[in-house]
Amino acid sequence: MESLKNRLVLLIFILIMVTVCDAAHSAEAPVNSSNRKSPVLTVANMCEGVEDFKPTFPTIVFSADKEFVYCYSKFDPVFENTFIFHNWYKEEKLISSFKLILQVPSWGTFSRIRIRESDMGPWQVEITDPNGKVFKILSFSITE
């Protein structure tokens, strides 16, 4: 009888613990879910090229002699397949916007623009998630 009583108390205790843990888990769920969905930006560079998925000659000034300007970004970890945007601005004007895919578990990606004579001046690339949250703004200039 005593043994049955002890077993019942243990069962109730287990049930309470399971309930509490479940409630705690439920409370943390949105945070974990959010973290899981948002990739983490680890590398963001303006560069003269990308080789083997790595930026080459990272710089902040590009000569108009060059053919392209690259913006390289690497996310680690990436919790789920998603996409980001590289928005290219010349001064206040949005020149182009690139939608780039990110895949789990980590992903490096880039966008580029062709340099023209009229592009000389200060530029920015804004790296955002699909909701418009800004990861980073990279500034650079195109000069003679």
Binding site: F57, P58, T59, I60, V61, S63, Y89, E91, E92, P122, Q124, I137, S139, S141, T143, E144
Partner: protein, 477 residues
């Protein structure tokens, strides 16, 4: 026509007083100096003034300047030439007479006796010169004479000019009811426009009339005709009434004579009306003409702005108004007498364009707006906000080919800027003054301080308006 309505609409009470006082002064001048040459000369100057205005309107440059030159010395000429007349008027009259009295032109000269004797002499073909002086003293013009001081009578006059009388060749000088002198020698005229049959007697009589304000009656010895000379006029007398009329005009009437009272009243009324009309026309011409043009810089004022909205920029702070009006008014206007006001109660955020019209401008009376420069004003209204913006270097020039600018660290790298919401909405960075890449010649770290470039409508809330730049320069491999 529009200008006329504008002028009439803008007449002030000061203008009416101005016209009234000026008219009265002119009227008093007439009353005081009537019968003298001063009035004639004043009329001459008035005509000159009118011609001057017409010449100005017709853009006759030389004529206009010449008339202006004459008028500039007109006051001096009048005072010098007519000093005797002015003195006699001022001495003869007291202050009351100068300001509001009427010195009626009475005479006690027996006009009928003079006319009787003149016609009798004419009938008898006895030559005669009878001088009735005006206000001017004749001493300067008469070379010699015999004093008579006898009471005027037809008999005495005819006897003086009887050809057996030793005094019959000279002129008789009358004053009031007396023959003051006889046998007077008068200056001969030099005029060449007189009939050839006029002899020495005519030339002497006309000579005195030319120079003085006297009236001279001349009876021809050869033809018995009667001539009256006054000023430059030579009048042939055709009847007794004609001569009586001329003498009344010159000498005046007997006091209490109904004809005299009627004529005096009519003359005073005419003079008053003419003075008023003349001054009014001159006033309109001078004070209300739109012949002078002037440009005035007037600041713009804004009213009824909403409390949370600010004026961030305006295309201009002041407007040039091209105004026209009379020279006197245009010269006297001051900028604070003029206002350009815009009501911002119905304005919206952003750029508002307002046309400058007569409704926005208040001008002093008598001044007309020709145009405003500019004709529209752009006003940018905005709400003030603060925004954090990254600092970005404005790179220029060319980096040496073997170098690469790997990184740059800015201090501060973010600044807070306060300004218009619309202005800041699309602003993505605050740029530095240009940084010459040609200045970078070697690898390693390079420090530089550059001021920030900021639109004048924006205010930097933190920092000193400059940024410390630390560049990391590598070698391209």
């Amino acid at each position: 026509m529009e200008n006329l309505f504008l002028v009439l609409y803008n007449i002030r009470w000061q203008d009416l007083i101005d016209i009234a006082i000026s008219s009265y002064i002119l009227f008093r001048l007439y009353v005081l100096f009537r019968g003298t040459y001063v009035i004639r000369v004043l009329i001459g100057f008035a005509m000159l003034l009118i011609f001057g205005r017409i010449a100005g309107q017709l853009e006759l440059i030389v004529t206009s300047y010449a008339i202006q030159g004459i008028l500039a010395v007109a006051a001096l000429i009048i005072i010098v030439v007519f000093r005797n007349e002015i003195r006699s008027v001022l001495q003869a009259t007291n202050m009351k007479s100068i300001l509001w009295g009427f010195s009626h032109k009475f005479t006690d000269t027996p006009i009928d006796s003079i006319v009787d004797s003149v016609f009798e002499l004419s009938q008898r073909k006895d030559g005669a010169i009878i001088v009735c002086p005006g206000k001017k003293d004749l001493k300067d013009f008469i070379q010699s004479s015999i004093e008579v001081r006898g009471k005027i009578s037809s008999e005495l006059l005819t006897s003086i000019f009887w050809h057996g009388n030793p005094l019959h060749d000279g002129a008789v000088i009358l004053k009031d009811d007396k023959i003051m002198a006889a046998g007077a020698i008068l200056p001969l005229t030099k005029r060449e426009d007189l009939p050839s049959y006029y002899g020495t007697r005519h030339r002497a009589g006309i000579g005195l009339a030319d120079q003085a304000d006297a009236l001279v009656i001349i009876v021809s010895e050869e033809r018995g005709e009667i001539v009256v000379a006054k000023g430059l006029k030579v009048i042939n007398i055709v009847s007794r009434e004609h001569l009586v009329d001329i003498l009344h005009n010159h000498l005046g009437f007997d006091e209490g004579e109904p004809e005299f009272v009627r004529r005096e009243k009519t003359r005073i009324v005419y003079a008053a009306v003419i003075s008023f009309l003349f001054v009014t026309s001159v006033w309109f011409s001078f004070a209300r003409s739109l012949d002078t043009v002037r440009t005035v810089d007037v600041p713009i004022e804004y009213s009824n702005r909403q409390s949370d909205i600010q004026i961030f920029s305006t295309s201009v702070n002041s407007v040039q108004l091209l105004l026209s009006g009379s020279g006197t008014l245009i010269k006297s206007i001051r900028p604070e007498q003029m206002q350009i006001k815009f009501d911002l109660s119905d304005s919206k955020l952003g750029k508002n364009t307002y046309k400058i019209s007569k409704n926005n401008i208040s001008l002093p009376p008598g001044i007309a707006l020709i145009k405003s420069i500019p004709s529209v004003v752009d006003i940018t209204l905005d709400q003030e906000i603060s925004k954090k913006l990254p600092v970005q270097i404005n790179w220029t020039g060319k980096l040496m080919p073997h170098l690469i600018l790997e990184n740059v660290i800015l201090k501060p790298d973010i600044v807070t800027v306060t300004g218009g919401k619309l202005k800041l909405k699309d602003m993505r960075a605050v740029y530095t003054e240009p940084f010459q890449l040609n200045d970078i010649t070697k690898t390693g770290e390079l420090f530089k301080v550059k001021p920030l470039q900021l639109d004048k409508t924006l205010i930097l809330k933190n920092g000193k308006g400059e940024v410390e730049i630390s560049c990391l320069v590598g070698e391209r491999r």
